[in-house]
């Protein structure tokens, strides 16, 4: 791979040197995107940051309040609860689905495809991907029915098999609401890493696996030292995109619990929404949104840095 890059670069360099206008020309193509970025992302973001230093209901002229909103956030239990819940959501949206997705995809790829047939593996892949395609609102309503404490199918099933002691007010009890939402999120998310990893596994060179097998490597050794190593870029992409998704999670919380009971399942996006649209408190809502965005940007850069470093170390190998 590094040899290919090595040969490609000088050629590119020669082309660019011979045709200097190419070096300037690409900016024209970037311009529409840059203008879009400026108008849709950067300017509104700056307005949001500016609004976070004001007291404003969105109608009357805003009043400058300095860091008051940030001070309020520091002492606001609901604000901290929302970010704490966000960490838990990373577990449910990123960590668990990625690990499960990896295991299931390897199982489907290595075992089901070879021992049975690719059609069966595809069937499971599609079945597990369906939650990703379903509209969140519909899936959320169905889950609410399933988890209804009085007539939901989960409690009815538990009762019918003699497990009354496990019957719970799943989404209404603060001790079970967050775990219930987590389970639902894993169900929502599992298909995404699965599909990416299934595609990535096609890319793993069978010769490497065969050579390792001849050398006496066990299945686990092959999995950790060859498969995982080969599909590391895909794992990075999945972890990064799902972490960002977890940090800005909104729809599922809106449909399932509205952040309740109390603030047991509140997340920053929903709290921002409440402050902006329910309380017309644009200043405070902007503060939560700004903090959330900064966290996401920092995490993104950290991830990319690690990835770039890994790329370099791979090239050096």
């Amino acid at each position: 791979m590094s040899r290919q890059r090595g040969t490609a670069s000088p050629k590119e360099g020669v082309m660019v040197n011979r045709l200097p206008y190419l070096r300037k020309g690409f900016w024209v193509f970037l311009l529409p995107g840059m203008i879009g970025l400026l108008l849709v992302i950067i300017l509104p973001f700056l307005v949001t940051v500016a609004a976070s230093f004001t007291k404003w209901n969105g109608v009357n002229p805003p009043t400058w309040v300095g860091l008051a909103n940030y001070e309020r956030a520091m002492g606001d239990l609901k604000f901290w609860a929302s970010f704490r819940n966000n960490l838990v959501m990373i577990l449910a949206v990123t960590v668990i689905p990625t690990i499960l997705g990896l295991l299931v995809s390897v199982f489907l790829f290595d075992y089901i495809t070879r021992k049975f047939n690719p059609g069966l593996a595809n069937f499971f892949k599609v079945a597990l991907y369906i939650p990703q395609v379903l509209p969140v609102a519909i899936a959320g309503v169905v889950w609410r029915w399933i988890l209804n404490p009085n007539w939901g199918s989960l409690n009815v099933m538990l009762e019918s098999v003699g497990l009354e002691s496990l019957v719970r007010n799943w989404l209404g009890d603060p001790t079970t609401a967050l775990p219930a939402v987590m389970v639902i999120m894993v169900w929502f998310q599992i298909g995404y890493p699965l599909v990416i990893f299934m595609a990535a596994l096609q890319r793993v060179d069978p010769e490497l696996l065969e050579a390792a097998e001849i050398d006496g490597a066990t299945w686990l050794q092959k999995f950790f030292y060859i498969t995982m190593h080969q599909i590391r870029p895909e794992i990075f992409v999945v972890v990064l995109t799902t972490t960002i998704y977890a940090l800005k999670l909104f729809g599922q919380i809106y449909v399932l619990t509205r952040g309740g009971p109390g603030s047991a399942t509140i997340v920053p996006s929903y709290y921002t929404y409440q402050a902006l649209f329910e309380q017309a408190n644009v200043g405070y809502g902007s503060t939560i949104a700004t903090v959330m965005t900064v966290v996401i940007i920092l995490l993104t850069f950290a991830f990319i840095r690690i990835q770039v470093r890994n790329e370099f170390s791979r090239q050096e190998i």
């Binding site: 992302i41 309740g260 009971p261 017309a280 959330m292 993104t300 090239q315």
Partner: protein, 450 residues
């Protein structure tokens, strides 16, 4: 070179991820970008109606009443009447969006191209008041005077139709109500009879009755704490110890409210006690208004404390048992007011049709249909309302009327959610009554109009 390419790719990726990430902040931009110009745009919009041609016009009407309820049935009749009197105009009526959905998305909807011309909307400072201040609702004062609606919607019913700087009670007309509404106790007569329970007239009698039901293994009150019902029970309990001054202070900000006074303390402590005694189930924390209604309709619960908006629907849907109503025992004051409002979108191009629509829904013919279907009309021919069940409701409305205490979530934007979550905490036992009152106190004082 490869490192440079890699870095460039990283920057592009980071940029696109930033774009992806910043979508989460999108809601923040909406008010900043769209609401600010509203104040200036609204008057222009009101001055430039009726551009659409007379023929093939469409009037978009949104409401959130069930087709089987009194309001829903009467408005279906109004649609027929409207189309008969306005040839070439089609009424596109949409009631697929629920109360919660419209409550939460109204400002976004009214800001969009998809806005209806006329819409049923929740009355109160935190809702219609806020939208009127944001310039999203048409000021219909002139039309009200011209068409004489102020002679139909009179006295206390006007309180919720008029707003000044977003505060109800006086000022311009931003909405017109069609009906009255109030909160009462619906009861299952069969279950009462079966367990030897009489209709209670005091709070003590109500509790004694509930003890009997609990002993028989029933949960006495159907409610839902993930939406409005549970907070109305809390408010009923507060009102059992409240006077007019407290209501005026709480709803109209006439003086500071002490949330640890006798009434609020009693309400919170009693609510916690009711949960402990099993009068209200903890499961209610994950149930909404619809769950409550269906629970009562199924005959599992002896009582349901909720509003007259259920009445028409229950008349149609309850077939398996006999039921009746009474006001919350011993209370001089109860939650209630003029009903939800017809509001006209500030940027509607069919304001003339929208006003004609409101006029037709206020006509005696349509109002009488509403009355006979179990609603509380403001302009019906009383002698034409014959159904004894409806007469029972009208009688209760008469008893209620002098003690209208509005609704607990009205005073401040967002108080609805604060009440939902804090009442949930109280029911779950994760907050003591004092902590719950502290939380409401803080929220109320931070968010009420200053």
């Amino acid at each position: 070179m490869s490192a440079k390419v890699s870095k460039l790719l990283s920057i592009i990726l980071a940029g696109s991820l930033l774009l992806f990430a910043c979508q989460s902040a999108a809601p923040t931009q909406a008010p900043a970008q769209t609401e600010a110009p509203q104040v200036t745009e609204a008057p222009e919009a009101t001055e430039a109606p009726t551009q659409a041609p007379a023929e093939n016009r469409v009037l978009k009407v949104w409401h959130y009443e069930s087709d089987t309820g009194a309001m829903g049935k009467s408005w279906l009749a109004a649609k027929e009447e409207f189309e008969a009197t306005h040839p070439g105009v089609t009424v596109e009526m949409d009631n697929t969006k629920g109360f919660e959905e419209i409550r939460q998305t109204a400002s976004m909807v009214l800001n969009s191209d998809e806005a209806p011309d006329v819409m049923e909307y929740n009355k109160g400072n935190a809702t219609a008041g806020l939208l009127s201040q944001q310039g999203l609702l048409a000021d219909m004062t002139d039309e009200v005077m011209k068409r004489g609606w102020d002679k139909i919607v009179v006295g206390g019913l006007q309180t919720t139709s008029r707003y000044e700087n977003g505060v109800m009670g006086s000022g311009q007309w931003y909405g017109v109500t069609n009906y009255g509404e109030f909160v009462m106790v619906y009861y299952n007569k069969d279950l009462f009879e079966q367990h030897g329970v009489e209709v209670p007239t005091t709070l003590e009698e109500l509790e004694a009755a509930m003890d009997k039901f609990v002993a028989a293994g029933l949960v006495p009150i159907a409610t839902g704490a993930s939406e409005y019902p549970a907070q109305q029970i809390f408010y009923e309990l507060v009102l059992s110890k409240a006077d007019q001054d407290l209501i005026d202070s709480y709803q109209l900000y006439k003086s500071p409210v002490d949330f640890h006074n006798e009434a609020f303390t009693f309400g919170a402590e009693k609510m916690a006690e009711w949960v402990e005694k099993g009068y209200i189930e903890k499961n209610s924390t994950s149930m909404g208004a619809e769950d409550m209604g269906l629970g009562f309709e199924s005959g599992q619960y002896p009582m349901m404390i909720s509003g007259s908006w259920w009445y028409g629907r229950l008349m149609t849907e309850i077939t398996g048992f006999d039921w009746g109503i009474f006001l919350f025992p011993g209370n001089q004051f109860n939650p209630g007011s003029g009903g939800n409002l017809w509001v006209v979108a500030a940027n509607s191009e069919n304001k003339d049709l929208a006003y004609d629509w409101i006029d037709i829904t206020l006509s005696p013919k349509i109002q009488t249909i509403m009355g006979n279907e179990g609603g509380l009309p403001v302009n019906a021919n009383a002698e034409e309302i014959t159904d004894p069940k409806v007469q029972e409701l009208v009688q209760a409305f008469k008893e209620f009327s002098p003690g209208a205490a509005f609704y607990p979530d009205w005073p401040a934007p967002g108080l609805y959610d604060a009440l939902v979550s804090n009442v949930q905490e109280l029911i779950n036992g994760t907050m003591t009554p004092a902590e719950m009152l502290d939380a409401i106190d803080t929220f109320y004082n931070e968010n009420k109009p200053q």
